[in-house]
Structures are given as C-alpha cells and as structure tokens.
Amino acid sequence: MKLHINDAASLLNLPVNTLKRWIRQGRVPINRSEDICIFKEEKLNEWAKRNHFSFSEKKCIEKKVLDSGTQILSSAVSRGIVLYDVEGSTKEDIFSFVIKNLGIDDDENKNEFLKRLLEREELSSTGIGKGVAIPHPREPLDNLFDSPLIAIVFPKEPLEFDSIDKSLVFVLFFIVSRNVKEHLKLLSNLSYCLRHENFIAFLKNKPPMEKIISEIEFFENQLLNQ
C-alpha cells in the first residue's frame, strides 16, 4: 500500500516529524521513498495494535466529516422539514402533528418522542421570546435518526406557549439531535441567528425552505469568520 507521509501520519494520529523519525530509526514497519510511504497494510495494522495505536482509514474519514461540521445548523435544517400553517391550539397538538410528519415508523418511538418533548416543556417552557420556540426532547433519542435534523413549524395562528416574554409563538424549531454535544452545537448556532432582529423579521414572512437554509448558511459563515 502506498500513502503520502502526511496521510500516513494522520492515520496513525502522529505528528509528521515523529513518523519521519520513526521510519528513519526503523521503529515502524514502513519504507519511505521521498514523501511516499510504502508498507504492507496488515503488517502495519499488527504493529499499531501491538503498540496500542489506532490505525484505521474509516476513523480518519469519520473524523473529517465531524470536523467539517461548522455548517451543522443549515445542514440539519436541510435534512428536516418545514411545515406551514399548522393547525392546533395546544403544544401537544402541534407536537403530534410534527412527529407524524417526521417519518418515524415505530409507534413506540413516536410516543417516546412526544413524551420527552412534553417532559422538557414541563421543566420550563422552550418559548425563548420574540415569538420563537425551540422544542426538543428532554434527553436526546440516540437511535431515531442517523444525523441531527431540525423541523421548522409555522402555526396558522400564533400560539400561547408560556414564553419568557409572554409573547405568542409564530415559529417553532424542533431540534432533534443524537447526543447532548450535538444539541448544544445546534442550539448555539441557532441562538446566534436568532440574536439578529433581521432574522426574526425574515422568519415572520414564512419564507420557503431554500431561503431559510441559505439565510442560516450566511449566519453560520459569519459566525465562523468571527
């Protein structure tokens, strides 16, 4: 197998300088000609295992995907759904409608999801003011979806939601994540967007999904370059 030395180093999770020195000293079963590493994969695997190194290509790719998660919110929205003019006067009505549209097969999962959403509302309302609510399950459901998603809901009539500023809710962002870390990351990016008055004003027009995504991308880029 042939690899560039930089890739080989990142596969082994080592600084490039260290790998170069180890090759020179003959401590790792790799031959090197210029910047290309030549090695037998099974031999290197065996070596890595014996020295408690993690060596796998899969891991490297996964890591790359996770690292590129700066657009996590916009991509979550694009994986989710946007529902307009949803009828219903209570939290539970709206929640059940969204769950129905999320495409969850299992009835048990549906009930569990609803239960956790309501549990969270019991703790304190997720109406965060300015007419926005961010319902989410009390504890993330880890095996419901492969990746995080956001469902955006515009109710037909503004909704009584016990918001902190007593305002009526005109848009709901359902945050569905697999773990707490992901949830916080999504929440932090969302909170950044909502901090801007023009984003709220933009939402009041009930824009189509593509426009919402591109708007969020804009804010996420801004956040990145800060």
Partner: protein
C-alpha cells in the same frame, strides 16, 4: 556519481527481498569481514612480537614503545584524521546518539594505530580496535544499502560480535558482550543476526588459525573451600578494578596537565609515555604488549614463584596500561584487564595459602582464571561477559560456579564504588549515554517540533479585554500569546487562570487592555532546545506549558499534557519489538 549509482543498485536489491532475510545475509557478510579484521590484527601482533622480542634484552629497547606510540598517534591524528580514544565508548556513543553511524575510515584507523602501539610494546588491548573496525564495517554496509537506524545498529552489533568471537575463538562471548555492553538491549530482533555474525567470525578464525583454545589448561577440580575463597577474591578483584579504572583517569589528567604546562605537541607526549612504559617493561617484561603470553604462563601455573614478584608485576601492568592509554597510545582495556585479573588471582592465591596453609584450594592457575573473570566483570561492569568469556577461552567449564560468584560479586561491588564502567564513564559525564527505553533516550529523541502545538490564537497588546472575551469562545486553550500589532514580535502571554476575576466584570471589558493583564516575564524556549532542558525550565517555574519562539516570533507552545501523550507512544515504540 558512481557512489550514487551503487547505492541505487543496492536499494533496488533491498526492495525485492524480505528485509529480515536480507539482514541475516548481511550479518553473515559483516561477520566474515569482522573475522578477517581480527585475524589480520592477530597475525600482525604475533609478527611484531617475534621480530622485536629478540631485542628486549638491550637497554635501548625502552625506546620501542615510545617510537610506536609516536607513529601510532601521528598516523591516527594526521594521516587518517580520526578521533582519539579507545574505541568502545565511541561505538556506544554512536549507537545511542547517532543511530549507529561510523566513518568509513574508522574501519582501518584504530586497527593500524593499535598495531603500532601494541606491537612496539605498549600495554594495551587489541580487542577494542578490532571491535571498532567490526562496528565500522557493519555500520558502513548498512549505510551502503540505506538501511534504517535499527538495522544499522543491528549490523554494527554483528561487527562487534564477530570481532570478539574471532579474536578469542569464543562465539558465545561475542554475542553476550555485544548485547550486554554495546547494545544494552536483550531484544530477539538483535539476537539472530548477532549470533550469525558471531558464528561466522569464529568459523573464519578457526579456518585460518585452527581451532585452538587461547588459554588451554589441564582442568580443575573445584571444592567447597574454593567457593569461599572465590567470594573473598571478588572483593579483591573489585578493588583492583576500581584502582585500574581510576589510575587510567589520573594518568589521563596528568598527561593533559603536562601537555599544557610544557606545551608539548601531541606526539612528544605520546613518545614520552611510550618511553616510560618501555622503562617499566625493561625491568618487568610482563607489563608490555597485550600480555597473552603472561596469561598462558599464569594459567598453566608455570609463572615464577614468589608473592612479591607477582605483586610487583600486577601493579606494573596497571601503571603501564594507564600510561600507554592516557598519554596517547591506541588500544583497549580488554586484554590488560585479563592480564591484571590473572595476576590478581595469582597474588590472591599466594596470599591466601600463606595465611591459611591448610586450606584445600584448587591450583594457582584456577585462581588466575577466577581473577580474570572478576577484573573483567569489574572493569567493564559486565558480569555475563566476564563469566562466559573465561569459560570459553580457557575451555574450563568446571570452574563456572566460582566464576559466577566472582564475576557477579565483583561487578556489584564495582558498581557501588564506581557507578559507571570505564567505557561509559565519559559518556555519562557528558550526558550522552542514552540507553534505549530510558527517560534520557526518549527525551533526546523527541524534538520540540514534534510536540509543538500551533492552535493558539494570537492577540495584540492594544486589544481590549472585551475582544479577548469573544476569542474565548473559539479558542481551545486558556493560553493566549500576545504579539505586537506592527512587528508581530512576541511580547508575553495572557493566561486565563490569571485573569479569571476580571472575566465576569463587564466594567472591565472596555477599560482594560491586554498589555495590562499579560504576563511578559515568562521563560521561553526555542525549537532547538533539548526537551530535557525545556522540562527543567517548566519545573523550575512550575509551568504547565511554555511558549516556543523562533527569534522573536511566536511559533506555538509545548505542554506537559501533549508531551506525556507523545512520551508514552515513544516509550512503547522504543521498547517493543518490531
């Protein structure tokens, strides 16, 4: 051009074979070449001995060692331009610090200079020069084939093993000496190539010189009294070993102070030393040369009787060797330790039988053997080499039990009195003895660059605290280097731990500037700083991380956390077999 072409050819051969198999073949070649070097040196010394021996009775013979020493050091210093020294420390240094690199000229340099020194009568051993040649042969063959450092060190070890094996006709000692003293690592990856080289060297010397045991004897009958006497002898040999080691050191210092005081050129110094040895040798011929002849007499029990004669010869040999090596001659301490050891054994035997005439001891020759083993183990601090070498070169397996007692006890006592052996002393003093898997080796291998963390966010000295608060969100560290906005020179650091009280005070956000809260008097290091030194600085100031500057520009930081991570990996890789 030709050299490059040769190298390419060699490399392409390497890639088409299995590496380990090739290493074994190369070990065989190194073994044969090392064997040749040993046989060559041995013949040359015998030639010199035969032709110069007849002149020994004349008074002017004391000039011989002087002339020999002059020629030897002029040859080494001016003609071939290699470093001075007795060889083994250089080989160990090369293994620990330079990945086993040795010069091509080192193959010949010590070989010829030691022939001149020892052949003319200087008191030194031919083993170290041969060992040095063998090591250089192995190292340069590895370099020709562009092998990696581990393989190069293996071939270097093959060279030393074959040299020792060939000169003593003792394959096991060659292997053990190499693993115990030169490589200091009992690793199976070394064992097989070293064993092959050792056997090749031995077979070559047997083919050319016949299978003779260097110091044969008629066999010994060891009794219980001998074991008790052996334990006592160990104390005696340990004292003599330390005396020998220290007198060499003293002689070296004396020579260099003489050199400064009288502004002697190096060859005049060597000549003076040689003549002094010649004068000693005129009265006590046993102190001259490598001394194998006297060992034979001592073991067979035919050495002239009398306690005083043996005692005087013992000290004469110590002084002669110290002068030869300290004043500029070329050679090793291997053979002199054997000679001194056998004298020690004989002197001990004579004293012991004088005090306890009724003790039922084995012959005088037997104690000469035990003494050799004791002094050998003490001077080299290598008990296993002491045991196996004596068993092999005397063909006397019956003495192994007392040999083990003398050898191990002597080396333990010596280690107590002199923590580093004669080979390692210099290296330990300079801090360049880096045995594999030790803290010093790990720290010297790791470079600052390898653990440098570059993900620090730089801040400017005229920024307000508020701006720093924003950066806190994106930074992964609690450590911000401060640089000048214009020149980008490093000014100091802001450490979160130090500004924690201000972080939640919104009044201070606007009013406090970075330069007011930065710490500008912290120690810094450069990328070339040795890690050990960096760690010492961090410990002194109880820091967890330290900035690295290249000139006045900030490069990154090194932290103990990352260091531990890398340190552990390094240690695991260094100590595991490939």
């Amino acid at each position: 051009m030709r050299r490059v072409f040769l190298k390419r050819q060699a490399q392409s051969i390497i890639f088409s074979f299995d590496e380990n198999f090739l290493l074994l073949i190369m070990a065989l070649i190194v073994g044969i070449l090392g064997g040749f070097a040993a046989v060559f040196l041995n013949y040359s010394l015998e030639f010199c001995y035969e032709h110069l021996h007849v002149f020994r009775q004349y008074w002017w013979a004391f000039f011989f060692p002087g002339v020999g020493a002059i020629c030897s050091c002029v040859f080494l210093k001016k003609i071939i331009r290699d470093d001075k020294g007795h060889g083994v420390p250089d080989v160990i240094y090369s293994v620990s610090k330079k990945g086993g690199l040795l010069k091509v000229r080192s193959i010949f340099s010590r070989l010829f200079s030691s022939i001149l020194t020892i052949g003319s009568g200087g008191s030194a051993g031919p083993e170290a020069p041969i060992l040095y040649s063998g090591a250089a042969i192995g190292s340069n063959i590895a370099r020709l084939f562009s092998l990696n450092e581990r393989q190069r060190i293996t071939l270097l070890g093959c060279g030393t093993a074959s040299a020792i094996s060939a000169i003593f006709n003792a394959p096991v000692s060659g292997i053990i000496f190499t693993l115990e003293v030169i490589l200091a690592e009992w690793n199976t990856i070394y064992l097989v190539p070293v064993a092959i080289a050792s056997v090749a060297g031995t077979e070559l010397s047997r083919f050319l010189r016949g299978n003779q045991i260097p110091f044969s004897n008629s066999g010994f009958n060891i009794g219980f009294d001998d074991l008790i006497a052996a334990a006592l002898l160990a104390v005696f040999t340990a004292v003599i070993s330390v005396l020998f080691t220290r007198s060499m050191e003293k002689s070296n210092k004396l020579a260099s102070s003489f050199e400064k005081k009288f502004r002697l050129t190096f060859f005049v110094k060597a000549g003076l030393g040689g003549c002094a040895v010649g004068i000693i040798g005129f009265f006590i011929p046993d102190a001259l040369g490598e001394g194998y002849h006297s060992i034979r007499e001592l073991i067979s029990g035919t050495y002239s009787t009398g306690l005083a004669i043996a005692g005087v010869a013992l000290f004469a040999k110590i002084i002669a060797t110290a002068i030869t090596l300290g004043w500029g001659g070329s050679g090793g301490v291997f053979a002199p330790s054997l000679v001194i050891g056998s004298f020690t054994g004989v002197v001990f035997y004579r004293v012991f039988t004088l005090i306890f005439p009724e003790a039922n001891l084995v012959s005088e020759g037997g104690f000469a053997l035990l003494g050799m083993s004791g002094v050998m183990a003490g001077v080299l601090q290598a008990p296993l080499t002491g045991i196996f070498l004596i068993v092999e070169i005397t063909g006397g397996y019956e003495v192994i039990v007392p040999l083990i007692i003398v050898s191990s006890l002597s080396s333990v006592i010596c280690r107590y009195l002199e923590p580093a052996s004669v080979y390692l002393k210099e290296l330990v003093e300079k801090g360049t003895l880096l045995r594999p898997g030790t803290d010093a080796k790990v720290l010297s291998d790791l470079k600052v660059e390898e653990i440098l963390e570059k993900d620090c966010l730089e801040v400017f000295n005229d920024m307000r605290l508020k701006e720093l608060i924003y950066l806190l969100k994106v930074s992964k560290r609690n450590f911000f280097p401060v640089v000048d906005r214009k020149t980008k020179d490093f000014l100091g650091v802001v450490h979160l731990d130090h500004i924690r009280p201000y972080l939640l005070d919104s009044l201070m956000y606007e009013t406090v500037f970075i330069y007011q809260i930065m710490d500008s008097e912290i120690p810094v290091i450069s990328p070339d700083t040795e890690l050990k030194e960096a760690l010492d600085i961090m410990d002194e100031y109880s820091m967890f991380s330290i900035p690295v500057l290249s000139g006045r520009k900030f490069m990154g930081i090194i932290s103990k956390g990352t260091l531990l991570d890398q340190y552990r990996k390094e240690l695991m890789v260094q100590t595991s077999e490939i």
